[in-house]
Subunit: 406 residues, 2 copies
């Protein structure tokens, strides 16, 4: 498995680009993705009852097991809580883009991200689609432009790419994602788009995607709010010419590991770019008697505002970790628990067998001054292990979200 | 039912005070409460698995249906996550205070609030108890001193008092409470102490307390973190000389309403003093098909960081309300929902039958500039109604909690 520095167009047969069309005042706000050949399509979507129009559209195409050839994505407007007109607008986006590319409306996925509750400016989007289809390509620059076009409050690009060899053929898997607020995925996640030239059927791909997200996107949180627009879309066009990847084969194991790693890295990038985040926090709950219980505990810690502000303040206030574990809803014995903080500056044990142990505050501060901190909770009551990723809660988060629409 | 301006010593037979003994650098940090006669005692406690030592002690006394005559309370240290020694320290506090007042150790409740995970400074507490028992009394000033002694990051006193007439006798019910962070009660709540001179047996009082909290303390949230120390303790000493209050009587109905109102007001005071809060937010979900579902929806809105920061920014970003309702876990039809904002400056409708309606941003800003704002979610799908109370999320919250221990 080789990580390579490349973007969404690295797998054979995919091209893309992103432009500024005027939904946002500045910066790119429209992205297109296109595959030469129809793709197996897998997707997972937000569990929020209030789903954005494009979420409903893409779910419908998934249900009908449509082969997909293109995705059109706008940023700056979520097309969520926009009523019946919102859904018509999504279908229009698919139609207009499909017509331009000579493909069927129902082979086009749509995604939107940005402010909730405002109608899409359809005249601007029409003009944007007219323009964007003049510029696409498969170079690294085209991929970067595409990744730029899906950003909202993100501060850096989120692209990951890797290659594996299956059946003697090189397969490339590439992804781009966006954060960075309203991040608390539940089944689906924020926008993440994965392309691959692997040959893999829709059913296998969908099963793999569902398995993968529970330990990747569903284990990150920026602010505990599950968006109306979360989705991960995967397109596989088969152009690597490998024998189709099937379950319980060596090729599947290789592909699965690579697919998992790619999605985990994208999920971590989303958290690292969490709104206002100054620190990346990895929480591992290990040696717990049950994986689902360990998952609840991990979630409680990464979503606690008090834990998050303590990390922002570089305060070794481990009591808040234990408090969050305690109200997580998991059944466990707090009297067996150890808590360690780990960073490049070192490791410090704060709690052992449920008993606080004196620690050197200066050494703790050295550890907490780092940008990436691991919290290790050893339950000493089983073998299950779960890791989740979050970030701190800063003044900047409040500022960004107090001023978002203005 | 008459509200009166008085404190915890207003009911007959109760005396109290608060002093600074040195657990905190400054401000009062030790409070005592004493009843001339043994009291019926009711209590509810945090559902956090990690319970502070005094929570365990008070639960044990409740289980044994002990009559109670005194409470000793320290602020500045939560005595939580302090292991076996923490429990011994709590018992020692009860013993030392009981000995001084000539009452049994097992008729003394204990409460602690403050930082988690540090041992109580028992030498300071011993000296403090020696000192405090020289100063108690039943004046308004004594009550105020007691309410001051339980404060941590609170910025104002939380006292409420009212009188009712039952069976021809005046009954006084009085309470004091503290907030103001780690506030997201679950069954129990933050520290709240209620005294009454009503004659009411332990079982009736306990049942009433349990009923009351689900619509009062359990419907407030400052930051979504359920504390290790939450508790509401109620003492009734019978000195109003009314015939004992029993279920399904007129007297019970009167007492119940007063008890509910008093606790609701204390709960609202806790939220109004939420850490860093600049606005008080009341959320009502009405005309829902099921009360528990309405409760989930209300909770999701009052705990959403994105909703909270939008109120801090005075931004009519109603999409975040709908988003929170959507991920609350409640089953409802978003296409029937109306959302209104109400404040002393007026009322504005933002969403009608699930469809966004254009609104005057300047008028919305006038409404949002007020300090107290109501969000009314009309589901149009039943008759259940729930109200909850929260606050905004400000820079100050981050500051307070990033620097708490330092």
């Amino acid at each position: 498995m080789n990580w390579i520095t490349d973007g969404i167009t690295a797998p054979k047969g995919f091209s893309a680009t992103g432009i500024h069309c005027g939904i946002k005042r500045k910066n790119k706000d429209l992205t297109m993705l296109f595959s030469e050949r129809p793709c197996s399509y897998a997707g997972v979507f937000t569990k929020n009852i209030v789903k954005a129009a494009p979420v409903n559209w893409n779910m419908e195409l998934l249900k009908q097991k449509k082969a997909i050839q293109g995705i059109i994505i706008n940023s700056g407007n979520a097309n969520a809580c926009t009523g019946r007109k919102g859904y018509e607008d999504t279908k229009t986006m698919a139609k207009v883009y499909g017509d331009k590319m000579g493909i069927d409306q129902e082979s086009v996925l749509v995604a939107s991200t940005g402010v909730i509750g405002q109608p899409l400016p359809m005249d601007i989007i029409h003009q944007g689609i007219d323009e964007i289809v003049k510029h696409y390509g498969n170079s690294r620059q085209h991929a970067t432009a595409a990744a730029e076009g899906i950003m909202t409050t993100d501060t850096f690009l989120k692209e990951k790419c890797l290659q594996i060899k299956v059946d003697g053929k090189i397969i490339t898997i590439s992804g781009m994602a966006k954060g960075s607020g309203m991040i608390h995925p539940n089944m689906g996640t924020m926008l993440s788009f994965i392309t691959t030239d692997a040959s893999i059927d829709q059913e296998t791909l969908q099963t793999l995607l569902k398995e993968t997200i529970s330990d990747t996107y569903n284990m990150i949180s920026v602010d505990g709010d599950t968006s109306t627009n979360d989705m991960v879309l995967v397109l596989a066009n088969g152009m690597a010419s490998n024998a189709p990847i099937q379950k319980d084969t060596e090729g599947y194991a290789i592909f699965r590991e690579a697919f998992y790693m790619l999605n985990q890295e994208l999920a971590k990038l989303i958290v690292k770019d969490g709104e206002g985040a100054t620190k990346f926090i990895e929480v591992t709950v290990k040696n717990m008697h049950d994986k689902e219980e360990a998952r609840k505990m991990t979630h409680a810690v990464i979503t606690s505002n008090l834990v998050k502000t303590a990390f922002f303040g570089e305060d070794a206030n481990w009591g808040r970790i234990l408090c969050a574990l305690g109200y997580s809803g998991a059944e466990f014995d707090p009297n067996l628990v150890d808590v360690d903080y780990v960073s490049p500056a070192g490791t410090i044990k704060l709690l052992e067998q449920g008993q606080p142990i004196g620690f050197d505050e200066e050494y703790a501060l050295e550890i907490l001054k780092e940008k990436e901190i691991k919290v290790v909770v050893d339950c000493h009551q089983g073998e299950a292990e779960v890791t989740g990723w979050g970030c701190d809660l800063s003044y900047e988060y409040v500022k960004i979200n107090g001023e978002y629409r203005t």
